[in-house]
C-alpha cells in the first residue's frame, strides 16, 4: 500500500482556524507575502527550571521551543494533511504491520552531521525498551523492531497492524536527534530551522536561523526567543506592550477585553482537548449507573461553555471523541441539561439525601474551581447536593486524580479514536482514570483497529462512543479550544489545528508582516 499525501484524511482534527478568527469581528488585514528577518519573541504559559532538552519529558515550554530546533519524520500541515518532513515518503505492508520510511536526502544536523538511518533509529529507540524513562513510551509500545535498510531507509515493525502509525510520528516527543555511539544526542542539536543559542530554563530560550536549513519557504525569522511567562496578566501585558509578539493560553477571564484591542489577533484552535470529571466506577456510589446518569444530566454544558470558556470551545457529549475527529458519532443525541431527569435518576439510584464531593484544583484545567462551583449550582436545581473540595495544585495528578472518587481533569486528546480509547477507556489500562470497563466496548476496540473498511470502522466507533456516553464513568462537558493571541505585526497563513501555536510550528511558519 503506497501512502500518498492526497489520500490522507483532510478531516483529521479539521475545524479550520479561519472560521473562528472571523468570529472576533476584527478586520482581517491584507496579508503580505512571507518575508525574512526580525527577532520573534513568543510568550508561553508554561516552563520551569526543571525543563530539559531531552524530548522524553518535554512540557509545553520545550515543545514550543523544541519545534524550532528539531525536525520530525512526519508533519501534520497547517491544512491538516499529513506530510513527510524528515521522511520523504513511506510504505506500509498490507496488514499495516511493517512500515518503510525513506529519508529525505541531504539533510544536515546543526553540528554538520548528515542525517542517516542510524540517527532515526537512535531517536526512536530513545523512548523504547526496558529502561525507558520517556513519557512517549506508550506511543511506541507496539513497535517490535526498528532497523535500517541502507543509509536512508528505516523499517519499523509493529506487533499489530496500525493504519495510523505515521500520524503518531508527528507527536512532539519524537524529534530526530543525531546518534552518538548508537544513542540519541539530547543536547539540542536538530534538523530544524533554528540553532540553539541559549537556554535558561524557567525563563527563556533562544535560537538563531540555521543557514543550511533544507526547507526553502520556512523559518522566516532571523532569530527566535521563547519566554516562560506563567502569569496570564504578565503575558497579556507583555503582548500589549510589544515585548512579545505572540502568546499561547490567553486568559479567558478577560478575553472580552483583549478582543477589543485592534492591534491583537486572537487565535482559537478547535482540537481534541477536553475537560473531564472522571468518577471511580468501582467505588460506591459511582458504581451505580443511575447516579452517573444523574450527574451527566445535571450539568449545564452551555453555561460551562459560555462562562468558563467564554464560547471558545464546543459542547461535549460524555465521550472523548471531538466533533472534529474522523469517526465522531454525528447521530448520537446531544445530552442536554435536564434537572428533572437528573433528579429522577438520582432518586432511582436510591441516593436521595446523600452528599457527594467533587475534588478540584486549578491544576486540573484553568477555571476548574469555578466550573465545579457552577456545576454545584446546576445540581442543586436537581436536588443533588455536592461539596466542592478544592485540593492543592501541588501534586494534584498524583494525589487526587485517579485517587479521589470524583474529580476534575483534562485530556489533551489523541490524534486517533483508537489511540484515545485504547489508552484511557479500555478495561484495565494504566491511564483508565475511571476504572470503567465494558466487554462489548473492548471487543469493538480490537475489531475496529484491524478493520480497513472506513464505514464499518465508523459504525464501530460510533457504537463505542454511545457506550461511553451512556454507561461510562466520565462527564465530558466541553471540548476546549487552544486560545492564543498575537500581534497584528505577525503574518501567517492558515493556522494548523493539531496543537496550539500553529501545531507548535509558529516559529517555522510565521513571519513579520510589519517591522517589529
Amino acid at each position: 500500500m503506497q501512502w500518498r499525501p492526497e489520500l490522507s484524511r483532510r478531516h483529521f482534527l479539521g475545524v479550520s482556524a479561519a472560521a473562528t478568527l472571523g468570529l472576533m469581528g476584527a478586520p482581517l488585514r491584507a496579508q503580505t507575502g512571507p518575508k525574512r528577518g526580525g527577532h520573534f519573541r513568543l510568550g508561553v504559559g508554561g516552563g520551569a527550571t526543571t525543563d530539559t532538552l531531552d524530548p522524553a519529558n518535554w512540557k509545553p515550554f520545550m515543545t514550543s521551543y523544541g519545534h524550532a530546533l528539531h525536525g520530525y519524520l512526519t508533519e501534520v500541515g497547517a491544512d491538516g494533511v499529513l506530510r513527510g518532513e524528515v521522511a520523504e515518503s513511506w510504505e506500509a505492508s498490507p496488514d499495516a504491520k511493517i512500515w518503510t520510511f525513506k529519508l529525505r536526502a541531504g539533510l544536515e544536523f546543526h553540528n554538520g552531521k548528515s542525517l542517516s538511518a542510524e540517527d532515526v533509529i537512535a531517536s526512536l529507540n530513545h523512548h523504547r525498551g526496558e529502561g525507558s524513562k520517556s513519557a512517549a513510551k506508550a506511543i511506541l509500545a507496539s513497535v517490535v523492531d526498528i532497523r535500517a535498510d541502507g543509509p536512508d531507509v528505516v523499517v519499523v515493525e509493529l506487533a499489530t497492524g496500525n493504519a495510523d502509525f505515521p500520524y503518531l510520528l508527528d507527536d512532539y516527543h519524537l524529534p530526530m536527534m543525531p546518534a552518538k555511539d548508537g544513542l540519541a544526542d539530547t543536547s539540542g542539536v536538530g534538523l530544524g530551522g533554528y540553532v540553539l543559542e541559549m537556554t535558561d530554563f524557567g525563563v527563556k530560550a533562544s535560537a538563531t536561523r540555521f543557514a543550511n536549513y533544507w526547507k526553502p519557504n520556512a523559518a522566516w525569522f532571523d532569530s527566535i526567543e521563547v519566554l516562560a511567562i506563567h502569569d496570564a496578566t504578565a503575558r497579556t501585558n507583555a503582548l500589549l506592550t510589544g515585548q512579545i509578539h505572540a502568546m499561547d493560553r490567553a486568559d479567558l477571564k478577560t478575553i472580552h477585553m483583549l478582543e477589543r484591542n485592534q492591534g491583537i489577533e486572537i487565535t482559537s484552535i478547535a482540537g481534541t482537548q477536553h475537560y473531564t470529571m472522571p468518577m471511580l466506577v468501582d467505588q460506591a456510589p459511582y458504581s451505580n449507573k443511575d447516579l452517573r446518569l444523574a450527574l451527566k444530566y445535571g450539568i449545564d454544558r452551555q453555561q460551562f461553555l459560555d462562562t468558563i470558556l467564554r464560547g471558545y470551545g464546543q459542547i461535549g457529549n460524555d465521550h472523548p471523541i471531538s466533533p472534529a475527529m474522523r469517526y465522531a458519532a454525528k447521530d448520537l443525541p446531544q445530552r442536554a441539561y435536564d434537572p428533572d431527569r437528573a433528579k429522577f435518576h438520582f432518586e432511582k439510584a436510591g441516593l436521595s439525601g446523600t452528599k457527594l464531593s467533587l475534588s478540584t484544583a486549578e491544576a486540573a484545567f484553568p477555571g476548574a474551581v469555578d466550573a465545579a462551583v457552577l456545576y454545584q449550582q446546576n445540581l442543586a436545581a436537581a436536588g443533588i447536593e455536592i461539596d466542592v473540595l478544592r485540593e492543592p495544585n501541588d501534586g494534584y495528578w498524583d494525589n487526587v486524580w485517579t485517587k479521589k472518587p470524583w474529580c476534575t481533569a483534562f485530556w489533551s486528546g489523541r490524534a486517533t479514536e483508537d489511540w484515545m480509547f485504547s489508552q484511557v477507556y479500555a478495561s484495565g489500562t494504566e491511564w483508565n482514570d475511571t476504572r470503567w470497563g465494558n466487554e462489548r466496548f473492548d471487543e469493538l476496540l480490537l475489531k475496529a483497529r484491524a478493520e480497513l473498511d472506513e464505514n464499518l470502522r465508523g459504525e464501530m466507533y460510533a457504537e463505542m462512543q454511545g457506550i461511553v456516553h451512556e454507561d461510562g464513568g466520565v462527564v465530558v462537558p466541553v471540548f476546549a479550544n487552544y486560545v492564543g493571541a498575537m500581534s497584528r505585526k505577525i503574518g501567517h497563513g492558515t493556522i494548523g489545528t493539531s496543537w496550539a501555536l500553529d501545531g507548535y510550528r509558529s516559529t517555522e511558519r510565521w513571519w513579520f508582516a510589519e517591522e517589529a
Partner: protein, 318 residues
C-alpha cells in the same frame, strides 16, 4: 570586645546547627509530600514502568536515610549534587540565580532602607503632623495589598500606560549593569512597597519611645533642637531595633520573593525552589533551602552584632 567575639562564635555554632536542622526538616518534608520526582515529572503520563525506571536511575529506590546521608556527605566535600531533572550540577544551576536574587535584594534594599529610615526619622520628629499621618496611611495601604496586586498596578502605570519600563525582567548573563538595573526597577519598586511599611513603622516607634525617655527630656531642657536631640541622643540607642527590622526584611527579600519573580519573569532563586519542590527535585530543593537558611543566619548575625556593638548594656551584661 571579647564578649562580641564570643557572641559571634556562639551564633555561628548555632547557625551551623540551624542549617543542619533545616536540611533535615526540608528533606523529611519533601519526602512526606505525595509523589516523588518520577511521578511528578511524568505527571498525567506516568506509567508504572517509566516511574520505576526513573527511580532506579536516580537511586530513589534506596531508603530515605541512606539518600540523606549520602547528600550530606557530598555536601561536606563541597558537592551540592546533581539536579534530577536536568542532570546538571546544582551549584552551576543555582549560581547565576543566586546572583540575580542578591542583585534584586540589593537594589531593593538600596531604595527601601534609606527611604524607610528617613521617613521613620521625619515621622518621629514631626509625629502627628499631616506628613506623619500621610506616610502612615500610604505605607499601611501598600502592605495591605497583596504583592501581585501592587505589581499589576505598577505594571499598568509605568509599563503599559507610560511605557517607561519593561513588563518583563528577564535578565540574563549577557545583560550589562545598566540593562540589569533598568530591567529590575519594577520588581524592586514592588518589593520596596512591600517592605517599606514595616521598616518605617518600627523605626518610628523605636525612636518615639526613646524620645519619651527621661534623659532625652533632660537634653531637650538643655535647649537642644529636636533634630539634634534625635541625632545625638536617640539615634544611637535605636540601632538595635532598627537593625533587627532591617535584617528581617532583608532576609525576606532574599527568601520570599517568589510571587514577584513569577509576575516579572525574574530568574531568581525563589522560582527555582518552587519549581524544584513541584517535581520533588530534592537536591535542588535542599541546596536552595540551605542557601536561604545561610542568608537568614548571616543577616541575623549581622543584626545581632550591630545591636550588641551599639548597646553597652548588652555588651557588658551584669
Amino acid at each position: 570586645m571579647k564578649n562580641l567575639i564570643n557572641l559571634i562564635l556562639w551564633k555561628v555554632a548555632l547557625g551551623v546547627l540551624t542549617l543542619f536542622a533545616v536540611s533535615l526538616i526540608i528533606f523529611t518534608g519533601v519526602q512526606m509530600l505525595p509523589g516523588d520526582f518520577a511521578t511528578e515529572i511524568l505527571g498525567q503520563a506516568a506509567t508504572a514502568e517509566a516511574v520505576a525506571a526513573i527511580r532506579e536511575s536516580l537511586g530513589l529506590d534506596l531508603p530515605a536515610h541512606q539518600r540523606y546521608f549520602a547528600w550530606v556527605g557530598d555536601l561536606l566535600t563541597g558537592d551540592f549534587g546533581t539536579a534530577f531533572s536536568s542532570g546538571r550540577d546544582v551549584a552551576e544551576l543555582i549560581g547565576p540565580r543566586l546572583w540575580n536574587t542578591v542583585f534584586l535584594a540589593g537594589l531593593t534594599a538600596m531604595i527601601a532602607v534609606p527611604v524607610a529610615l528617613a521617613l521613620g526619622l521625619i515621622c518621629a520628629v514631626y509625629r502627628d503632623s499631616w506628613f506623619d499621618r500621610a506616610v502612615n496611611f500610604v505605607t499601611l495601604a501598600s502592605i495591605s495589598f497583596p504583592e501581585f496586586f501592587v505589581a499589576y498596578v505598577l505594571m499598568l502605570w509605568l509599563a503599559v500606560n507610560a511605557g517607561l519600563l519593561p513588563v518583563l525582567s528577564d535578565v540574563d548573563i549577557n545583560s550589562t549593569l545598566s540593562e540589569r538595573i533598568y530591567l529590575s526597577i519594577l520588581p524592586a519598586l514592588t518589593l520596596t512597597l512591600g517592605v517599606l511599611a514595616h521598616m518605617v513603622r518600627m523605626t518610628k516607634i523605636s525612636l518615639v519611645s526613646l524620645l519619651e525617655n527621661e534623659y532625652i527630656e533632660t537634653a531637650r531642657l538643655k535647649g537642644n533642637s529636636e533634630l539634634r536631640v534625635l541625632a545625638r541622643h536617640a539615634l544611637p540607642n535605636a540601632w538595635a531595633p532598627v537593625a533587627n527590622v532591617v535584617a528581617l526584611n532583608l532576609a525576606y527579600l532574599i527568601t520570599g520573593v517568589v510571587v514577584v519573580e513569577a509576575v516579572f519573569v525574574y530568574p531568581g532563586m525563589g522560582q527555582l525552589m518552587v519549581d524544584a519542590v513541584q517535581v520533588r527535585d530534592i537536591p535542588v530543593v535542599q541546596s536552595c533551602a540551605l542557601i536561604f537558611a545561610v542568608a537568614y543566619v548571616l543577616v541575623n548575625l549581622a543584626a545581632d552584632v550591630i545591636s550588641t556593638a551599639t548597646n553597652p548594656r548588652l555588651l557588658h551584661p551584669k
